[in-house]
């Protein structure tokens, strides 16, 4: 069975936290090359790994991973402000 692509925000969240791939890999218990594959969306993480990543970034899983292309976080903030203003 061919797995569908899972999109994620790992790269941007990692940079935001000023972590290297090795730092993040150490926190989630994988090799840093696995982090690279996750960031390039060439590998779909297991549910366990997805939860470990969400625990590191202290964000809900659905904000980091999605089955559809993710919008940039800035766009989400603008949308949120617009809806508040309306």
């Amino acid at each position: 069975m061919k797995a569908r692509k899972i999109y994620n925000r790992i790269a941007i969240l990692r940079k935001e936290k000023a972590l290297t791939r090795k730092d993040l890999a150490g926190k989630i218990g994988v090799n840093f090359q696995t982090v690279g594959y996750l960031e390039r969306e060439e590998y779909n993480p297991s549910l366990d790994l997805a939860f470990r990543i969400s625990e590191v970034f202290k964000l809900p899983v659905d904000l980091i991973f999605s089955t559809e292309p993710l919008k940039p976080l800035s766009e989400l903030i603008i949308e949120k402000y617009k809806s508040k203003l309306d």
Partner: protein
């Protein structure tokens, strides 16, 4: 396992390594046919290239170590990669070895120690070939 060298460079390493093993076996058969043991000195050329290539492409990169690691020491993607590489190796090795034995029996050649040692080495290096050929280079930062 840290694959810092480019994919194309690693692929050259795989091809070079395979050519060296093949050359060692073929040269040995040729020497046997010619019945001239002094020609055995030529076996040293591919052997030296093989050893140097092995150190550069499979030893220093940690590929050999990776393919011989305990499954408990691998993360989930590495486990998947290890499974894929072993599956590939099993298919290639069985077909290649049985095909080779068939050729040997057809042309009535005896199986010799050089061939067996080369096959033993090939069986162990094939998973590294697969990983070296397919894995992308990932740096720690960017």
């Amino acid at each position: 396992m840290e694959l810092k060298t480019s994919k194309s460079n690693r692929r050259i390493g795989v091809i070079l390594n395979f050519i060296c093993i093949t050359s060692i076996v073929l040269l040995f058969e040729l020497i046997k046919l010619k019945r001239n043991p002094t020609l055995l000195i030529y076996e040293l050329i591919p052997l030296v290239i093989l050893v140097i290539g092995y150190i550069i492409y499979f030893g220093k990169t940690g590929l050999w170590k990776f393919t011989h690691k305990s499954l408990n020491d691998l993360d989930e993607r590495e486990l998947q990669l290890s499974n894929k590489s072993l599956r590939f190796s099993y298919i290639i090795f069985t077909i290649f070895t049985l095909g080779l034995f068939l050729i040997y029996s057809v042309i009535e050649l005896n199986i010799n120690m050089v061939l067996v040692v080369s096959l033993l080495y090939l069986a162990h290096i094939l998973p590294s070939y697969f990983i070296s050929w397919t894995e992308e280079s990932v740096s720690n930062e960017d």
